[in-house]
């Protein structure tokens, strides 16, 4: 029958009454179908006696006979029993309910998201077991992400990030602090975090620190083009600054301290300069994103463009980013061949401010002027006042004028990044249970950071400097797998086997010289590459829809190890039991979902970090560059230095045991999970001493120890209120993790953590690795206090009771990693209004207050330096009143409890519809970002990933006005 009528309708959630976007309407028995629009509406032309099948992910599908009607309303009920949500796992997707490993999948909340410039902002505090600490408040700043604590010491602790199926490397690119900054957060559909080894082992040697799978948004089949705009304007200001002496206070103090010493006192100025005010500014930022999505016949598409421009709260810093993305997902041969093409591009201009000015502004003498029209300042220092030794020579040990440091330095990175991949998924025509999947991907990035420092900038030797550093890198990947899925009665099999090849290449070249372009020249060229070749397989077995078994195995071979140690196997096994599907649970009305998960797996670590590099086992000579030549027979000739190497180096292996329960209560109105885990890393890669005379350095990369992480994770999500006009969603997560080093061979004493030096002295450290203690434990003296609980300078507890206070009295005292982290999100929606709050807590994390320690000496030797300049001091240092008698900075007094509760954002929004005919819907919102931090920590900000608080770019407080429009 050719007669067709036009049927229109609307699809709604039966419970909340909200319209459902993207539901599919199919005329039964045909291939005709449409998808609902933003307002849940659809129009389909169908035979008057046809039946329409309406489907939407996570809801029970409904069949509606047309029966001559032209207008119908469809109510969909949530599919509470079988949560239909599909989550990405390695090389496949599964229904969340069928997942056997520990994983968390989240979709960024459209309403309650705060300001998200970088992808990591969207998961901060949202996922149990995932701790995200931003590197500071610089625009475009990166973050450190730790999943279930770190599993390594010197090797990388970063999770593997997989974007649309392409596994990325973790090396940064110029101008962008981490690769998550290269993706426009607005393009992200979902994050899946794989946490336990049974989930991650399919990624083998890169999976020890967890895996974050990012899936970007795609178009929909047959949908009309939809254009959306999302943007915001925000204003940032600095929160706290350090309370230091002003000009008058400083003059009074110096006059008292150096009474009668006219030589010294004559160096005091007459001004009262607030140097901190000089370096900070109120910054204006804006962010715009436009996207179009739809479906052109069998080809869903989506394209987006984003622009971000952020000023930093430190003068001169600015981050400008353009992003573009295109997704095409055509399918052919009756959906037998599905193709997915993704391309993402980014262009960034990033001007860095020298963060040294943060400390300098607090230390610069407040009695001195910012600028001076006198000589030598006028000519030699571009009018900025500076400390000089004699004539026009800057005192190189003094605190440089921070405003001059900012304004007389141009440090700008320009970088481009491209991520592209093509996936082909073919369901074999004669055997539809068999799928073949091919994925080809690449990331290419090219960044250049230009530096220009005029000769008037005192702090760089007064000869000026110009030059650049370029980093070019790519990552190429090919993966191929076959998948066979079959159902036989009550049994289901799903078996997959595949191969993957990846090539990572990185080159760096830099060139710097003095402004005369011939002196002080340094050229540096560096190139490196590595390959990873892997074979992997997975088998899923399901019995009676309730007993699920997953086994995976991966064989990884990395070019980073010698042939004998190159290949390794990473197996995993997981079991899940859907308890609520059992007969005895049939009549229970409490649990709508109940699943027990048990998992075991082994993962590896082959990312040795840039310090160790890609060739730790190959003996090579390193050539010298400028400034490091030696005259032989009258010529400054090339020198070769043999590098240390270790042929025996092999993988780190982490073994994980995990047990978890997922539950849903009251028709899944409340859902949650709890996981307990134990992870042990063996053959820990670390740089430790070798026997003198046996290698070409005293310290060589070796497999030397073991550590373990134990923890519990808890997640709870609930709809506190769920009515037609009012809904209130709350989600909460909490994590406890304990890290301990269990073995370190070849190091009797503690191993200092080289990159965590403190500011006082040269080469002083406060963090060490020691057996029996958490990694990065603070190693300090125990302070003795007077009756008023003030520390007595240099008086430490003789902990070993030998009557002497020496190195042997230092002890292990806390560490920078939190014991417990928590996140809480609340979203209240009342009709058109929404109100969201996101909170985050971190408990038991300690920070060495390097700022306070470094500025503690308020005595005669600390305020007027022996090298001839004044140093301002914080008011708080007057209370401790240290005068620089001893190594006061090794006191546990400066290791401070930095537990905190931070309000990440508070958002109020209003949603509107049908504006000016052109705009189908939209939302206006106001957000305050980072308004409050509650902490006992005495420094400016308790969130310091390294545990040494020094010159951290302050995280600003921001006010954001956001607008979203759907056309």
């Amino acid at each position: 029958n050719a007669q067709q009528t036009s049927v229109s309708g609307i699809v709604k959630d039966a419970k909340t009454g909200e319209t459902i976007l993207g539901a599919s309407i199919l005329e039964k028995g045909t291939s005709k179908g449409v998808i609902t629009n933003m307002d849940g509406e659809f129009t389909i032309s169908a035979s008057p006696n046809a039946t329409l099948v309406i489907k939407y992910l996570g809801y029970l599908s409904v069949e509606v006979p047309v029966a001559g009607k032209t207008k119908i309303t469809v109510q969909l009920h949530e599919d509470a029993i079988a949560l239909g949500e599909v989550v990405a796992i390695g090389y496949a997707t599964v229904k969340k309910n069928d997942a056997t490993g520990s994983l968390t999948s989240i979709k960024p909340d459209k309403l309650n998201k705060g300001l998200t410039t970088n992808a990591q902002d969207m998961i901060t505090g949202k996922i149990a077991g995932v701790n995200v600490v931003s590197d500071g408040g610089a625009p475009g700043a990166g973050a450190k992400i730790r999943i279930r604590g770190g599993s390594s010491l010197n090797a990388s602790n970063d999770p593997l990030i997989v974007i649309d199926g392409l596994a990325m490397d973790n090396e940064g690119i110029k101008g962008v602090s981490n690769l998550l900054s290269t993706i426009n957060p607005n393009d992200i559909e979902s994050f899946t975090v794989l946490k336990d080894a049974s989930a991650t082992a399919i990624y083998g040697s890169r999976a020890s620190n967890g895996v974050i799978i990012i899936t970007t948004k795609k178009g929909e089949k047959g949908a009309k083009p939809r254009v959306s705009y999302d943007g915001n304007v925000s204003m940032s200001v600095v929160g706290k600054t350090l309370d230091v002496m002003n000009g008058n206070q400083f003059r009074d103090y110096a006059n008292k301290l150096y009474a009668g010493q006219t030589g010294t006192l004559s160096k005091l100025g007459t001004e009262s300069t607030d140097w901190q005010r000089q370096i900070y500014q109120t910054a204006i930022n804006h962010d715009h994103n436009i996207s179009i999505m739809g479906g052109l016949k069998n080809m869903p598409y989506r394209a987006s463009f984003g622009y971000t421009n952020q000023d930093g709260i430190i003068k001169t810093s600015n981050f400008e980013r353009y992003t573009g993305s295109v997704n095409l997902n055509p399918s052919f041969f009756d959906d037998h061949l599905k193709v997915s093409l993704n391309a993402k591009g980014m262009y960034v201009n990033n001007r860095y401010a020298d963060t040294g000015v943060i400390g300098a502004a607090a230390s610069m003498d407040p009695t001195q002027p910012v600028t001076s029209t006198q000589e030598p300042y006028k000519t030699t220092f571009a009018g900025y006042w500076q400390w000089i030794t004699t004539g026009t020579t800057w005192n190189s040990l003094s605190v440089a004028n921070p405003l001059a440091t900012l304004n007389l330095k141009k440090d700008i990175a320009h970088s481009k990044d491209f991520i592209g991949n093509a996936e082909f998924d073919y369901k074999v025509h004669f055997l539809p249970e068999l799928r073949a999947h091919l994925s080809l991907g690449t990331e290419i990035s090219d960044g250049k950071q230009n530096l220009f420092i005029p000769t008037t900038n005192a702090s760089d030797g007064q000869v000026g400097r110009t030059g650049y550093e370029k980093i070019y890198k790519y990552n190429r990947s090919l993966s191929y797998y076959m998948n066979y899925a079959k159902e036989i009665g009550v049994q289901k099999f799903d078996v997959m086997a595949g191969y993957e090849w990846q090539h990572f290449y990185r080159s760096l070249n830099s060139h710097y010289s003095a402004l005369d372009l011939t002196t002080n020249t340094t050229n540096n060229v560096f190139k490196t590459e590595s390959y990873l070749v892997s074979f992997f397989g997975r088998a899923n077995y399901t019995l009676l829809e309730r007993y699920l078994l997953t086994a995976t195995i991966r064989n990884d071979r990395s070019s980073r190890f010698a042939k004998e140690n190159r290949s390794s196997l990473f197996p995993s096994l997981a079991f899940a039991w859907k308890i609520n599907e059992e007969g005895f649970m049939k009549n229970n009305t409490i649990f709508s979902d109940l699943k027990l998960r048990l998992g075991y797996g082994e993962t590896g670590q082959q990312n040795l970090g840039s310090d160790i590099g890609d060739y730790p086992y190959i003996p090579v000579y390193v050539t010298n560059i400028e400034g490091a030549t030696y005259p032989i027979d009258g010529n400054y000739i090339q020198t070769y230095r043999p590098n240390p190497y270790n042929k025996k180096l092999k993988w780190e292996t982490t073994t994980t045991y995990n047990a978890g329960i997922d539950w849903g209560l009251l028709n899944n109105r409340i859902t949650g999970s709890i996981d307990g885990y134990y992870r042990a890393t063996d053959n820990l890669i670390s740089r430790v001493n070798v026997a003198a005379g046996t290698n070409f350095s005293n310290i060589v990369t070796q497999n030397i120890g073991s550590l373990e992480n134990k923890g519990i994770e808890f997640t709870l999500t609930g709809k506190a209120i769920s009515t037609k006009d009012l809904t209130w969603d709350i989600s909460y997560n909490a994590t406890y993790n304990y890290n301990k080093i269990t073995k370190l061979t070849g190091t009797g004493a503690s191993t200092p953590v080289a990159d965590r030096n403190i500011s006082s002295g040269t080469g002083n450290y406060v963090e060490v690795h020691q057996v029996g203690f958490p990694a990065y434990s603070f190693f300090v003296y125990e302070q003795v206090y007077d009756r008023n609980h003030n520390p007595i300078e240099g008086l430490y507890v003789d902990r070993n009771g030998d009557g002497k206070i020496n190195d042997a009295d230092r002890y292990y005292y806390h560490n920078p990693a939190p014991d417990v982290t928590m996140g809480l999100s609340s979203k209240l929606v009342y009709k058109e209004f929404d109100f969201g709050v996101t909170l985050r807590a971190s408990l038991g994390n300690y920070v060495y207050n390097d700022v306070a320690a470094n500025k503690a000496n308020v005595g005669a030797s600390g305020v007027w330096s022996t090298s001839g300049f004044f140093v301002n001091k914080p008011i708080s240092a007057m209370e401790t009143n240290f005068v620089g008698r001893t190594n006061w900075y090794f006191s546990d007094f400066y290791v401070q409890n930095a537990s905190f509760v931070r309000v990440d954002n508070i958002t109020v929004g209003y949603t509107f519809k049908n504006l000016f005919h052109a705009i189908s819907s939209g939302r206006l919102s106001a957000t305050v970002q980072n308004p409050f931090v509650f902490t006992k920590y005495k420094g400016l900000d308790p969130e310091v990933f390294t545990g040494v608080d020094n010159n951290i770019y302050p995280r600003p407080i921001m006010a954001v006005i956001g607008l979203s429009l759907n056309f």
Partner: protein
Amino acid sequence: CVNDLNVTPIDPSTIRTFDQDAVFAKVYASLALTGQQGPAGKGDLAGVDEGTSSFIRLIWNLNELSTDEAICSWGDPGIPELNFNKWTASHDQVNGIYARFYFGVSLCNLFLEQTASATDTKTVKQRAEVRFLRALNYYYLMDLFGNVPFTEVVSLDPPKQMRRADLFAWLEKELKAIEPDLAAPRTNTYYRVDQAAEWLLLARMYLNAEVYTGTANWSAAKTYAKKVMDSGYKLNPSYAQLFMADNAGAFDASTNTAPQEIILPIACDGVKTQSYGNSLFMIASFHTSGMPAWGTSEGWGGNRARAALARKFFPNGIPVGTDLTKLTAFAGDKRAMFWGWDIADSKSTDPMTILNYSVFKQGLSVTKFSNVRSDGKVSNDLKFTDTDVPLFRLAEAYLTYAEASFRLGDAPTALTTINQLRDRTSGSAPALSSITLDKILDEWSREFYFEGRRRTDLIRFGYYGGSDYTWDWKGGTAAGTKFSSIYNLYPIPATDLNVNPNLKQNPGF
């Protein structure tokens, strides 16, 4: 494909094949540099601040700060322990110097293995010099640590420990064995080792033979010192020139005549050979704002003279009213290159006295080293220094000859020789009229203060650990306290004891 995994490094700055001249140059370069990038970067060693990891800076710290000559105001790791003779087996500079010497040994072993079969004249000469420099590393190890691991090969097997006396015997044999292959005195190109350097090292070993082996050998010390004195090197008339930016003379396009005295210099250049641990360390750490121009923008204000050193030149003190900017003239000895500070600012009663060791301006500053040229021209860089470090210089042979003669009972020769040195043909210092053993030790200090050798001299005279001879801040008290003789040796670093089962710690640590 799996074959892709067989990578070879693609970094153009790394090379897989041995290059004889390039490794030879590195053997020398590691006397001055800390890594493959100037002033720091691509460091040779790890676990120690790169600037601190320098050969001469570490030798200087261990041999000067622990004695009556120098004290440092810094609280950097390890520095107070050196000031106060309280180091342990986990000590930054001790670990650093040990690692530096063995880096040198491994580097030399590699060169010698790779060139073992070559017999051409150039290689034979290079090999002799590399063997000398390996011996130099072992000499310092013997002097500072006593009984140390010993290896002549590149191998992953932990080396065996050699007794101090056995190492002495090996060094004696080794140095004599290379003599025919070394260039005759003053015939090699500047900065390269000649026979005079070998003789001087032997002379130094024989002078201290009693300490190293238990048996004195003054006559051998005298013999080898004399060989050096007769080798064609000359005392430079100007003492000051020896420590100035253009002390490479013709090599620095200068008329500075210091090279006639300097037997083995460590090359430094403000542009081409930059380090925070070569002469820059000596110049910058001795100076600070307010002192007469020292030729670099760096003035770290750390190391200055203990009162005990100052008194070698000012035995009767420095009376109030003395012009502290003209102390050389006041001392009547051109080698007395000191600078005194405004007493009010230093809060001390006497410009030589140090009441608070962490205040640099207490005590006399040393202006002996500078990056200023004797010809008045500008040095190569505002920051990094051109001044070569005179590691071996002829004056040592004079004092060795004098001391050995005296100990052999020939006081007149000792007196004559010392007065020759004091005179330097330009009347550097007035002649001494009489001589005693203690006067010889004082003369060692006056001639070589702040050049990185004092500890060895004090030990030879029995004036170090276990001795009643005290100096200000010795052992950590302002007046000076005796410390144990176990400190006459530095401890084998705990890190090496942990990884090399063949090692036994020095007694007392």
